[in-house]
């Protein structure tokens, strides 16, 4: 099966500049050598804590951030070899929905203008717009009369529907969803998750779903990649990750999630893995395995040798002592 998208060896290092001459004094290693594929019709969940590089990765796929090294192949085309103009055309097929529906919509444009904008950018004449806009608004659960209103008149959930409608109006093949529900209330979150599910079936979409909430990831993903400090530590099917995770970080992450079930919580609490310490700085990541400073299984080998992703069946784990 050919992949819709392949990211290979993606690296992003942001320079840290100081002083009036903007001298580079170091680098933030936001993403360090990440490789993954997305198959047509698949949802890949990308999960990790803040600062692990998941949003940077998502943005590099669309070249909203240029990678320091590595490449992204989409539908057989190497995106990093495209000119700006060619990339712009390509974005018709890869769209993005942002986390904050308050910051990502232009307050001076009406909802209709916002949703129609991508089609104008991609050269559709204004007379052909209306039916397309009407169609997508209806599919996203936005009433027609909302079209002439401005973003500030809407709640967070409705704004996120506008963000989704804007992304889908170009009929993309892949949609990057960067924490699309984390700013929403619980009761509204479920509406948006169901909407994303319906739209995926309707338009035969593939998703890269970036989130920090493991319950949401387990609900929406077909495959899951777990990131820690700029690296994928484990990647596998939803079943692999949520039932047979072999990486200690994935295990700790799953164990830390509080469940909305008092009985289950009582049992989990007795054998909960509470990680000590915090994520080290990406400016100067630990040698060897990046997780070793917080890992209860760390040995001397973990300090000297960097583990690589090793396949155990359909699950790939980057750990010297997986279990």
């Amino acid at each position: 099966m050919s992949n819709l998208l392949s990211a290979s060896g993606l690296v992003k290092r942001f320079p840290i500049q100081r002083g009036i001459f903007k001298r580079t004094v170091g680098h933030v290693n936001a993403v360090s050598d990440i490789t993954f594929d997305i198959a047509p019709g698949e949802t890949l969940g990308l999960v990790g804590e803040s600062g692990c590089g998941k949003s940077t990765t998502a943005r590099m796929l669309m070249r909203l951030i240029e990678p320091t090294a590595g490449s992204v192949t989409f539908n057989g085309v190497n995106l990093n070899s495209l000119s700006r103009e060619e990339m712009r055309k390509m974005r018709k097929d890869i769209q993005i929905v942002f986390q904050d529906p308050y910051a990502s919509l232009n307050p001076r444009m009406t909802i209709r203008q916002i949703i129609a904008e991508p089609l104008l950018v991609h050269g559709m004449s204004e007379s052909d717009l209306d039916p397309r806009v009407d169609e997508i608004m209806e599919l996203c659960g936005l009433a027609q009369e909302f079209g002439n209103r401005y973003p500030h008149e809407f709640s967070g959930g409705q704004r996120q529907r506008v963000g989704i409608a804007r992304a889908l109006i170009t009929r993309p093949k892949l949609v990057v969803l960067d924490e699309p529900v984390s700013a929403l209330d619980v009761s509204v979150q479920a509406q948006i998750l169901n909407l994303l599910d319906d739209l995926k079936t309707k338009f035969d979409l593939s998703y890269l779903f970036v989130a920090h909430d493991l319950s949401v990831i387990s609900h929406i993903s077909d495959r899951v990649a777990v990131m820690y400090l700029g690296k994928i530590v484990e990647i596998g099917s939803r079943k692999d990750i949520f039932e047979n995770a072999k990486h200690p970080y994935t295990q700790a992450l799953l164990s830390a999630v509080p469940l909305a079930d008092p009985d289950a919580e009582r049992i989990r609490k007795t054998n909960r893995i509470v990680l000590s310490g915090e994520v080290p700085s990406p400016v100067d990541p630990p040698s060897g395995c990046r997780f070793r400073t917080r890992c209860w299984k760390a040995q001397s080998k973990c300090e000297t040798e960097e583990p690589t992703l090793v396949a155990h069946g359909s699950l790939s784990t980057s750990c010297h002592y997986p279990n």
Partner: protein
């Protein structure tokens, strides 16, 4: 029965704004006993933070007005207590930690200075003793190298460490009640687990009552003894943690629980959704505040506001339809 530590009785909070009166809270009742952990759950705009801030007298008056209700702290009504006496209680007997530890710490003073200041306001101790106490508090909440870190400024602390410093500050005067307003919402899940562990330890070992305000039903399920659910400025249901999760009575609580995605690898089901979005305090709703989104609403729900009725075993809910004998069975 002994007197409860905190008893909020039918609290109403309105705000006088240029666009008229905004009725933020219209009937919030809540009881907390010594050493008890109670969760106050609700979505944004439900009034949970205003309720908590009202306990400490932190809502500026004006614009706030309190047309009805009482907040009894060991029998004394805090709403009528003069500011001078309130200052003794605030920080001394009742402490609060906030969601965003960066904005609640002063960036130009060291962590140690801010904790000792709090201690010196409430206790007659020397600067040196206060600092020593501050170091002990930091150690208690798990800040590594407290002797050195006590002289750090807030920006030198990470998010999780700042929240620890806030907890240390809140606990420095041995309060009897700690109000925690979304204490883990800004934190990552592995750090959240650490902070929750600390809060639980405190409740157990130091017998501190905790009012935990959150929108995360997972957090309350693990920590709380009892839960009150707030919606549209009213408490709509209260019960013990086991009962409310097993058998919610109010359609909102029921819908909220069904709409959370479960962490599992099992077969995927469509999530239950509550249509629409939560009301803003500006919206004037005559009947039940949840009626416009409720799939069980009948005509009466849109005209008459239901009252909070008791259903035995410390359970209470606000719903007209619960008077029908077999209605509760529909919520399963």
């Amino acid at each position: 029965m002994t007197e409860p530590l905190l008893h909020i009785d039918n609290l109403h909070v309105h705000f006088n704004t240029s666009d008229g009166i905004v009725k933020a809270i219209n009937g919030a009742s809540l009881t907390l006993n010594k050493g008890e952990v109670v969760g106050l759950v609700g979505e944004s705009g439900s009034g949970k933070s205003v309720t908590a801030m009202s306990v400490l007298g932190l809502v500026p008056k004006p614009p706030a007005i309190y047309p009805e209700g009482k907040i009894l702290w060991k029998g004394i009504d805090l709403l009528t207590t003069p500011e001078r006496d309130l200052r003794e209680i605030r920080g001394g007997e009742i402490s609060m930690i906030f969601q965003d530890p960066m904005t609640s710490l002063n960036p130009v003073y060291t962590i140690g200075h801010q904790i000792s200041e709090m201690i010196r306001v409430h206790q007659r101790v020397s600067v040196k003793q206060a600092k020593q106490q501050a170091i002990e508090m930091l150690e208690l909440v798990g800040v590594p190298n407290p002797h050195q870190r006590v002289d750090d400024y807030p920006h030198q602390f990470s998010g999780g460490m700042r929240q620890r410093a806030m907890i240390a500050m809140a606990l420095s005067c041995n309060p009897e009640l700690l109000i925690a307003d979304e204490p883990t919402t800004a934190l990552d899940v592995t750090i959240q687990a650490q902070i929750i562990e600390i809060l639980e330890k405190l409740a157990r070992e130091r017998d501190v009552a905790i009012l935990l305000i959150t929108h995360d039903l997972g957090v309350v399920a693990g920590v709380c003894d009892r839960i009150s659910v707030m919606y549209g400025g009213r408490i709509v249901e209260e019960a013990s943690v086991d009962e409310i999760f097993k058998k919610p009575l109010m359609p909102y609580t029921w819908g909220l629980m069904k709409s959370i995605p479960q962490m599992s690898s099992g077969a995927r089901k469509k999530l239950y959704t509550i249509p629409g979005s939560p009301p803003t305090p500006r919206q004037m709703i005559d009947g039940c505040t949840f009626a416009p989104r409720c799939e069980f609403a009948i005509d009466k729900c849109f005209t008459d506001a239901p009252t909070l009725e008791n259903y035995g075993k410390g359970r209470a809910a606000r719903c007209h339809r619960l008077s029908e004998p077999d209605f509760a069975r529909k919520l399963s």
